[in-house]
Every structure is written in C-alpha cells, then in structure tokens.
Symmetry: C2
Subunit: 438 residues, 2 copies
Amino acid sequence: MAQKPSIPKGTRDFGPAEMAGRNYIFQVVRSVFQKYGYQCIETPSMENLGTLLGKYGEEGDKLLFRIQNSGEKAALAPEKGLRYDLTVPFARFVVQHQNEISFPFKRYQIQPVWRADRPQKGRYREFYQCDVDVIGSKSLLNELELVQIVDDVFGQMGVRVCIKINNRKILSGLAEVSGQPDKLVDITVAIDKIDKIGIDAVKEELREKGLDEAAIAVIEPVLTLSGTTQEKLTRMRTLLANSETGLKGLEEVETLFGLIAEAGIRQPVELDLSLARGLNYYTGAIFEVKALDFAIGSICGGGRYDDLTGIFGLPNMSGVGISFGADRIFDVLSGLDLFPKDGAASARVLFTNMGEREIAYSLPIAASLRAGGVACEVYPDNTKLKKQFEYADRKGIPYLAIVGDQEVSEGTVTLKNLASGEQRSVPKAELLSCLQQA
Amino acid sequence: MAQKPSIPKGTRDFGPAEMAGRNYIFQVVRSVFQKYGYQCIETPSMENLGTLLGKYGEEGDKLLFRIQNSGEKAALAPEKGLRYDLTVPFARFVVQHQNEISFPFKRYQIQPVWRADRPQKGRYREFYQCDVDVIGSKSLLNELELVQIVDDVFGQMGVRVCIKINNRKILSGLAEVSGQPDKLVDITVAIDKIDKIGIDAVKEELREKGLDEAAIAVIEPVLTLSGTTQEKLTRMRTLLANSETGLKGLEEVETLFGLIAEAGIRQPVELDLSLARGLNYYTGAIFEVKALDFAIGSICGGGRYDDLTGIFGLPNMSGVGISFGADRIFDVLSGLDLFPKDGAASARVLFTNMGEREIAYSLPIAASLRAGGVACEVYPDNTKLKKQFEYADRKGIPYLAIVGDQEVSEGTVTLKNLASGEQRSVPKAELLSCLQQA
C-alpha cells in the first residue's frame, strides 16, 4: 500500500468550508476595488530571476523559490523564480506594457506569492495577496481613495478597524532635526517599539544606536504625543520647523485628513507617528490597519513609493497602494464569527433518490429550481434514506425534497426542513417559489 | 538604464481587457458548478515530487517543473514540483482528507497548472484548468449531471456546442471482438483519425499496426456508423454480441442517453464511437465538447476513472469529471464576439477634477453612487479636461460627471454621454437614479 500522501511544509490544502470563507473575502475586496474603478491584472507565477533578484534585500533573495530549468536547452534558458510579492511583478508589468496603459493606472491583483521562509504558525510558504495600487499620479486623492476602500471593505465585512496613517517625510524630518539624518532607520525602528517596550526602553535603544541626549530630547515628545490629529500636527509643526521635508510631510497628512473628513470615512482614522512599516521603499504616506476587536497583527497595509518602476528603467512613476492580508482577515472573520451564514452550504435542497421512476420525476423539477437560481442536488445513488439524510446534514444542505411513490402520483414533493424537522407536502410547481421565500 | 523587462517563455501577462474576459468565464463556470452543489477546494501549487512522478507517463515526468530546495536543510527536504494538472492533486487531497469528506464528494477547482512544454501557439507553460468531479459514486446520474453542467455553461455563454460521448468499455469490446484485445490503444488511435485522414488511411494504419483483414473487417462498420443514437446502438449490439464488456458499455450509453432525454438537455449530444481521449485512465464514459461555430480543438473534456485514488492507497473510489479549458473558451467567445459588452469597463462614470472646491463637492456624490452600486472614479489630478476625457475614453467609461464652478453653485452635475456626445444638467440628488436607469 502506498504511503499516506502529504503536502510540502508550509503549504496548505483548503477544503470546502475554508474556501467558502476565502472566496467571500476575495469577492468582497474584488467588488470594492471594482466600485472605485480599479481593474484586474494577472502576472505569471514565475518571473525571470533577474526581475526578482535584489528587489527584496539580501534576505529576500534567499527566500526566493527557484525553478529548475529542464530540457535540452536548460543551460541556455534564463533562470526563473516564483513571485515573492505582487509589487515587483506589477512594476515590471507597467514598464513592459507602458504603451498600452492609460495613466493613472488603477489596478488590483489577487494572486498567490511564495516565500521559502521557515514555516511556523501563521507563516506560510504560499499565500495570497490582494493588492490595489494606482501608479502615475501624485495626487493625495489616491491616498484618500485607498482609505475609502479600506473603510468599505471592512465595513462590508462588519469588522471594526483603526486605520493608522503616517508619512515617511515626517520621520525623515525627525531624524534631520535631531541632528541624525543618517540614523533614520534606527530611530524609526526604536520608535516603532514604543507600545511593546515602553518609553524608557526606547530611549535606551536610541542611546545604544549612538544617539546623544540632545537628539533623544528632540525625539522624546513624539513618543508621548497624544490628542487630536490637529493637536499632534500643531506640536509637530513646532518640532519640525527647521526641516523642509518634515513640514512637507505634515502638510500632506493635514491635506489627507481634510479629504478624509470631506469623504465621510466611518471607521476611526488615526495619525500614528510611530508607524514605520516598509520604511525602505515608502516615500510618502504609510498605512496600517488593525482590527479593534481581535488581537492579531496588521490586516492591511501599504504606502506611497515615488519611484516604483525606476528599477526597470521607467523613472519618476509615483505609485501608492495597499495590500490586504487574506489569511489574517480570515482569522479575524472566523474569530469574530462574522462569515455569512450558509456560506459553505453546497446547495439549498437535496432531492432524495428512491429509484429510476422517482429520479425521472425529480430531474425536471431540479432543473427548474436551478433555472430559478436555487442551487440543488439530486442524490446519485439509490441507497438507504438515512445515508442520504446524513449526506445533506454533513454538507449543510438545509432542505430535503423527498420524492417517493406517493409524491410522484400526487405531483408533489415532501419538503423537509432539516434543522426544525418540519415537513410538508408542496405541489411540484410551487417548490421554486417556496424555496425562494424560505 | 535597465534592460526592458520580459517574462519567461510560455507564460503570459493578462491586462485588464483579457482579465475581464477570463473572469467572466471563471464566474460563469463557478456559478454553474455551485448551482449543482459542487464545492470549491484549492490545493498547493507545489506538491512533493513523489506525488506527481509516474502519474503522467514518462513524457509527463519530463514536463514537470521542479523547485530547487534552498536553505540549510536543502539536501534533506523532499523534492517538490509544480502541479501538472488538478486531477492528481485532487486524488491526493481525497486520500489525505478522507475522514473529513462526506462521499459522494462533489468538488470543483479552478487553479493554474504548469508544464515545461515547448511553448508554441496556443500552448502555454502556465494555464488555468477548471475541473469539476464527483468521487465515490458509480451512478450514471453523475455523468448526466456533467452533461447538464456543460449544457448550462455554454448555454449561458451563448456558445453552440456538440457534446460528444463515448464509453471506454465499447472500445475495449471492439478490440475483443476483433480478436485483438491487446491492440486496444492502436485501434482507438487509428479510429480517432477517421475525420482527418479518411477510411482508407485508417485501415492502412490498422494493417501497419499488425491487424489482419478479418479484424479490420470487424472494425470497419464502426468507421462508417451513422444515424441516430438508437440506430448506432442497435448495430453495435450485434457487432459486440460476444463481448460482455462491450455490451456493458452499450448499456451504460443507452441509460445515459435516456437520462439526458429526461433532463431536457438543449445542446446536441452525440454518440461518437471514434472518441478516444484520455484512453489511458478512463474506464467508462468519455466526454468531449466542440464549439459548432468556431474552429478550435475541444473546449471541454473528461470521463470516468474507476480507481482514481488507488495510486495513493485508497482503492475502489470511482470518479467522473470534466475539465473546461479557459484559454480555448476565451478564444471562442472572443472570436464569436460573445463576451458581455462593457465587461472591461472600469466604472460607469468619471468625475472630472477642476480643483479642490469641486472635489470637495464631488466626493460625497461619488460615495453615494458607490453605495448605490454604481462604480465610479474621481480623476485624481487637476489637469486639462481634454486629458481627463481621454482617460475616460481609453478606459471605456461611458459617462463623465463634469463638475465646475457653476455645477457647485447650482447643486448639479453635468452628465456627458461619451458615445453620443449628449450632455445634460442633473441635480446631484438625482444622479444615482439617472445612472441606474441609463
């Protein structure tokens, strides 16, 4: 006998229940993206290795899955790798197809990515990303639109979130006025930890990174900044008065928050000056979304990058985008019991199978239900009714259409509600409207 | 400057117009599968190489894309390959999860597969398959259901097709009665060519394969068989009178055609005794679907395999399934101009951008349109109107909502139909109903 089969470490099978939840998430984000005029593209799973190498840092290069070339010309063919994210393939797509694209180009892309990471809880080697980006426009209306999309997506799902916003220019300004512009990364990495380790430990870390007390004194107020967005902006404007970049960042934030007020965002939006994600490539706005009622990392994030396509030879293309994390959103919806009920049900009704004559009677009725938009199944085998009932129960099918001798001669169907156990006789011509109302 | 980027040979980028068409195809097949109670699963892109090797013949093994192991434990990790089809991963899934599955298990799966084939016109190294299978039931009602699904899918798309049906047992019976049961493959390969090369060449090929004139005389009537299904069955019943297997095949075909008549299939269904696809693994019904109004290979095919999961240690699981070829269906819909109009349009209306005041006025109107289910865009940059018009035109957006000084003070929007050039003033509160009707 063959060994029990298995799948590679860090990959997953998704059965019907999980896929129902995942498809619900994809369908919500997709419908929202479309409502804002974003268009779908797809890129190949494999890219030439040259397209991917050097785009994710040294660590990222190591995490690329490489494909072995095969066949006679293996040695001559360019090496290939599986895509690591959707951003680099998108940049490659824009450059390669620049003459066919009308800019600003608003695209979304929902596809798996692969990373040869050490598998662990919540970290997979294959997972989906849902990216939405606009490229070719510097207007802050694009940032607003992404906030609207986040608001819409989680509003539709019934998930309360906090949308956190920062701006890379403010962080640069802070490094400047502290007299340590070259320590931008160290400063932001330390600030980023404030919630976890507290103010004293952050200051200690800044000291360890070589910042003097004067510099720390400049940065400290940012760590304790509270109040409304306006209050934060006012204090920061004083602090960053001598940094042109910093002031520009504050101006962008102020404009964006003004637009957010005009557009009527329902979920809370917060200026979080400790937000530093993706610092290596973002140049303007930085976004992060956290679920309010469920403890998990960020469920969505992104930002603006002023030169997305320069690496492929098309300079000065500013883009801004966000990425929804399907796996974490799944965990949130599952944990808060927010998935639509019956989402995993395969059909509304199962016709029993009691023999050829009954089946001949049932087939056209089943066809009329389907034509009326009611999903239904006809049990394929003439087995014990108990087995057929169990099948419906295990698949979450709410109704049974029992068809025996009597029903055939009367022109009816016995409709049984599996949850309540109730059953009643329904003339076959009325079954569709009966199920549409139920 | 960087080299112009490219993608690996045999792979494709899909831009917005192509994706609109592809998503239409996926959405139609998905909705039909669901109407019959099939549930979605997904399996990982990569499988352990042991799962894949030996399942597709020697030629298939060579066409597997292998993944290089990386990291410290590379030498110890099992080798992996990209999936070659959806059937073997499905069989692996069923065996691995047999205790969680309620049989008969009706599943569909829409995912890409990879083959290191020599790329050529219409043959790609990455392409989607849309598979629908039921496993764990021998009932011919399953075969009927697949025919119903084919009928529904192409009916919804408006594609006229011919559904061709054969049965492997009939072909086995034919080889038996010709006295050459070991030449089954040679016989069917030759018969399969009748349309292309004609009867004399088929007979010549049979001779070359070592069949004597007596055997050829037995087979010859099959090559010229015409008339109704009943007529064909009657003649074949005489021919296969001495083959139990052959008669069983004829009985299955007769039952299936009886069910097809009861269920009211709208597209033509034909018994095609020369149909031999997938002979290596099919054991019962064989299906193939051809478009009637467009010259292209089969756009859908499948059959029954009596022991799908035996290779993974779970014997006697009979399954039947079909696979829709998204790429060819795309070509058919495109060639016959059957894609829904406006499918690729990103939005119904574009709000122009004439400055901050106008945008502040437009944002809540745009939000109300989206809440009412009308996709719309707000142009992000305050540039020349001509450029904004061109953007709408190139994206196929049918309406412009022009908002300038006058509209803001009047509380209106100037709605311009880009196709007709017509424009009229609409009070902002009426814009939604106006576009819902348009």
